[in-house]
Amino acid sequence: MSAIDQKNEPIISLRNVTKIFGDKTIINNVSLDIFRGETFVIMGCSGSGKSTLLRLITGALRPDNGNVLIRGKDIARISVDELEEVKRSFGMLFQYSALLDSLTVEENIALPLREHTKLADDIIKIIIKLKLSLVGLRGYESHYPSQISGGMKKRVGLARAIALDPDIVFYDEPTSGLDPVVGGAIDKLIKDLSTKLTITSVVITHDMQSVFGIADRIAMVHKGEIVEIGTRDEIKNSSNATIQQFIHGSPVGPIDFFKEDIGIAEALGL
């Protein structure tokens, strides 16, 4: 696979990154490298810190410790203008879409194009049509986010994320809340974008089907720490009990579903 041959320079690399909220360590000493053109999947339980990890990479959050390097440059050390430049090469699909409520679908997708390019309006219109047909939403141009379903919002968010043809696209749970058919189509789109346009993709998901469908490499995150990083087969055949439990979705294992050992009756004070 292309991703494996290009293993020279990591495009994103995290060095001992730690993030603390209040007195809780949410991300603990995480180091990882993501290479140009690969599809890197981050999986883990709800609340394990996946979205936080993504926020640290995109610069929305600053690490309390450690460094985040994009193309070899520490994003905490570069100037505001350079950071803007870096951000412009990112596309991001948010977990809850984060479309601007006051703008229509069309205006939402046009926003990065209008802000960062000098393209004429009719060209922008064409790009919007193109991106909308990629996510199967032609004809919804003039709808407001409040008028479309959650899954549709997600797809509009995806169209917006890829509007500027970014080098790196971050997807925070791209298929959650989508039906299997559309989910499959989105997986295929992510795969196509990364193979045909050599986009680097960082995907957060707990959808096992899409993990093993699209990933070049996978990182399993648990309680803010990396359990293991490896290729699809390495993860599938991992001997780590946490990973096996997660893949098979079994309720017994090292990942405890109940936070404490308190029974419900006790918690209710009965």
Binding site: G59, A60, K87, F94, Y96, L100, D101, P112
Partner: protein, 262 residues
């Protein structure tokens, strides 16, 4: 107890610092931004002006016309005893233009547009829309705060002029209708004692109030924390803080004009 007061004071200074920083950033984007090719959008400034201005016209008109009527009745009560009822006209006009119309208009706009701004930006904040803008390398202050700031700073003086006129109409209704002052004489007396200075000091106040309301409401919105409940809190805080700021600023500006005159 001392710790609580201490924390309150620290919070207060942090708030002031945040407000000052936002003001600085807004000015930066207004005056420096255009030279970097990143001006605020004219279209969204216009949209906000319509929202702040046009939609407040009716309520400002009614608030000030009734204030004019009340002012006329109250002053007439005093002036009748001195046989100087005619001066109701100038008293109403001067006190409206200098004081009542700028303040009342600001309070109306803070309650109507200011709270809406805080609620809108607060909702955007808690639903990650602000974060999305930042990730797309679109500065939320330039994109959201600057148009609202300009709209308030421009529209509040305009609404104040409307308030002045409505107040004078209110006074005119009482003066000619119930006090039987000749309409021509009423208008003559109004303008005889109304100086240009009375009007522009009122307008300077209006600009300052508009700026204060805009910064406070944008700040409360952009830094909202904690879900829908947080949005509610931010909205209430923005209105309360705007009211206090307007009254305080009114006192300070009036003082400056009063003492600089001599």
């Amino acid at each position: 107890m001392a710790a609580t007061i201490g924390r309150f004071i620290i919070e207060y200074f942090r708030w002031i610092k945040g407000i000052a920083l936002l003001f600085y950033n807004i000015l930066y984007w207004i005056f420096v931004g255009p030279f970097k090719g990143k001006a605020a959008h004219r279209q969204s400034i216009f949209q906000q002006m319509v929202f702040v201005g046009l939609h407040s016209v009716v309520i400002v008109f009614f608030v000030d016309i009734f204030t004019g009527i009340v002012m006329a009745m109250q002053t007439a009560y005093q002036l009748q005893r001195m046989g100087a009822v005619l001066y109701v006209a100038s008293l109403v006009a001067v006190s409206l233009c200098r004081e009542l119309s700028p303040v009342l208009t600001a309070l109306v706009v803070a309650g109507r547009a200011g709270s809406a701004i805080a609620a809108e930006l607060g909702t955007m904040k808690v639903t990650e829309q602000i974060e999305a803008l930042e990730t797309m390398a679109i500065n939320p202050i330039r994109f959201l705060a600057v148009p609202r700031f300009l709209a308030l700073a421009i529209m509040l003086p305009c609404l104040t002029v409307l308030g002045n006129i409505s107040g004078i109409i209110g006074g005119f209704i009482v003066g000619t209708g119930s006090l039987h002052i000749n309409p021509d004489l009423y208008m003559q007396t109004t303008f005889k004692y109304l100086e240009l200075k009375d009007i522009y000091t009122g307008l300077i106040k209006a600009i300052v109030f508009g700026i204060l309301i805009a910064i406070i409401c944008c700040y409360e919105g952009l830094y909202t924390k904690g879900g829908a409940e947080g949005v509610g809190r931010a909205t209430t805080r923005s209105v309360v803080a705007s009211f206090i700021a307007v009254i305080l600023a009114d006192c300070v500006i009036t003082g400056i004009f009063f003492f600089s005159k001599s």
